[in-house]
Subunit: 223 residues, 2 copies
């Protein structure tokens, strides 16, 4: 059996589990988003800031923090007063649906408006594994350069939102925002793009509004 | 068949191919290094600068540039006057030994002192797939934060050298060099560490000397 055939089988089994998760979330009206980025793009720092603001906006949320090893992210998010479950994948490069299934068995889905999956830092495999989420969010950053969208197109293709973090580093790097956006739009014409700096706070209001809006839409659909 | 069993099978078949590649390289006295990093860490920029200097030092080299999609890296390296073969993996998150086998069939191994694999930008899977290389190089960078070594330990465990690029961004970020090194040493006590900025040139001499030394040792072993 070739690698491709094996992979298709694995992805199919994963999709079946993901579908069941999606059905449970749909009937509860709970939105699940799957945030995917390179290592060190600032996902955890983003959640440390946006999590408390989502709570202030009346949204009950739980974060499922994925990492190969360590509980560093979960510890940081816990310190920020957020509900969090750490998912350690070992040497696996992505979270799969069965790991989400196990994690959300510890969560009262009906009481949560929003479940945020912070995936393993990796632009490739996480984009391939459906988790039962409503949407992926492509979490890019200035330090990784302008051309990532065309090098890792699947994630961009699948995401309704691209956050571009670390815009405070633009002057210090060779980053070209116009070219970055051109690359993103080349892969996905309809994607929303928010320029952001978790460090300075730029773009956080916009990101918050985007998320609150999506939570509302999901709730309305379920009721 | 579970995912773990499948993966072990894939890795075993890969290791067999890698062994054959290693034997060919050993008898030719050609060093092969496998550079692994996050997306946008600066591998291509590093090779654009270090490649010509390796040539000046009398070393004949070929670069195998891995990306899921696009030939952007190969085009850049070609412009820098370097011999380069692009390997596109499609949606696969790593280069495997069979892709290297195909690529080096286009290379006169005996005439090359050094083959550099620029792996797909990903800290997880590429570390698992042996390519027949003499060594991996862990290519970290300041922008991704200080704790990557303990979050992605396999790569660090397998590498005799960690390059820490983008040290010019240290002031602008929350990067903690002492903690980063502590994390690296915690995983691998014997690893060499070079602080580097491809942009300013800092550390490039040191990296060059490290590589030239390893090429010499390999040549001497073969003769």
């Amino acid at each position: 059996m070739g690698y491709k055939v094996i992979k298709e089988k694995v992805l199919r089994a994963n999709a079946d589990t993901a579908k069941l998760i999606k059905e449970r979330l749909d009937s509860a009206g709970t939105l699940m988003i799957n945030i995917i980025s390179s290592p060190g793009a600032g996902k955890t720092a983003f959640l440390e800031k946006i999590g408390p603001r989502l709570k202030e906006a009346g949204i009950t949320l739980t974060i499922l923090a994925g990492d190969c090893f360590t509980c560093r992210d979960a510890e940081r998010l816990d310190k920020a007063g957020l509900e969090v479950i750490q998912i350690n994948t070992g040497n696996a490069c992505h979270i799969d649906a069965s790991l989400i299934d196990k994690a959300i068995s510890q969560v009262d889905i009906e009481k949560n408006d929003l479940i945020i999956v912070e995936n393993v830092g990796n632009l490739v495999c996480p984009a391939e594994f459906e988790l039962g989420e409503d949407m992926k969010i492509a979490f890019l950053n200035v330090a990784e350069g302008s051309d990532k969208a065309i090098k890792y197109p699947l994630l961009i293709k699948e995401s309704p939102l691209a956050l571009i973090n670390k815009v405070d580093l633009t002057q210090m790097s060779d980053f070209d925002m116009a070219f970055c956006k051109e690359c993103i739009r080349q892969v996905n014409r309809n994607i929303d793009i928010i320029e952001m700096s978790v460090k300075t706070g730029q773009g956080l209001d916009e990101a918050l509004n985007w998320l609150v809006d999506k939570v509302k839409i999901k709730k309305e659909k379920a009721s």
